[in-house]
Amino acid sequence: MANEFPDSMKRAQGRYTRSMIGAALAYAAVLIAAALAIRNLELPQWAVIALALAPVAPALLMLRAYLRFVNEIDEFHRRIQSEAVMIAAGIVGFGSLAYGFLEEWAGFPHLPLIWVLPALMFAYGVTACVVRARYRD
């Protein structure tokens, strides 16, 4: 039963996949362009700050795509999604705390905060598969 997706679910998944790919490509493009501009051009500080924050916009588009997907799916799949996100957030929260203490006290190399979102997305990809498998017949 859990393997049969209704047409509405398939359409929601299609829209989500297309939106997410577009936002991810925009994120990568803006990030690369901003990094190149900051490193190679003599820019005023306000422009540096604006370019540094520019990748946040496509990141918000990714979040919007996900929220729209969650609103379009049924209760059962929404529960799977929210469980997966919460478990992933717990893993990333625990991991960031542990690594933060290793950085502070054991001299581990500094990991920038920009890696927290990709870590959450990777963890979510794994936990979504695990949670879905748990609810399979």
Binding site: L63, M86, G100, E103, L113
Partner: protein, 137 residues
């Protein structure tokens, strides 16, 4: 309506009972690695790294207690509110981490340590819980 109250209180009581000892352990671990207990810890080697990361273990227990609270919460409405609060807090934390990470990476803003991500999430969760409670009042 009132019949559900004792069950939700039981989940809250269990959460408090599990949360408190983990937080005591966390404070003890932070005090130990900070050298406040009368000895200076050595962070060399794998044993030193394990010691440095030790405060993360009781926080893992706190995250587990949060998960158990959501599992044991019999009141669907209270669980819905908590899930919404957690998801809002995760979204806010990811937004701040991404923006701050890019600002510190490219615009010279001081780097926030990774171990602040989980406290940031807890703060956001508290604020989100208040907002969700107000929205559903």
């Amino acid at each position: 309506m009132f019949a559900s109250k004792p069950k939700s209180n039981a989940a809250s009581r269990n959460y408090a009972r599990r949360f408190a000892p983990f937080m005591v352990l966390y404070v003890f671990a932070v005090a130990a690695i900070s050298g406040w207990l009368g000895f200076s810890p050595d962070f060399d080697g794998w044993a030193g790294a394990a010691l440095a990361a030790s405060p993360a273990l009781p926080i893992g227990g706190v995250i587990w207690a949060m998960g158990r609270y959501l599992d044991e919460q019999q009141d669907e409405f209270l669980r819905l509110k908590q899930v919404r609060s957690i998801l809002l807090a995760v979204g806010f934390t990811m937004f701040v981490c991404t923006a701050w990470g890019f600002a510190s990476q490219y615009a010279g803003l001081w780097a926030l340590p990774l171990y602040m991500v989980f406290p940031m999430f807890c703060f956001a969760w508290g604020a989100a819980s208040a907002y969700v409670a107000w929205r559903y009042r």
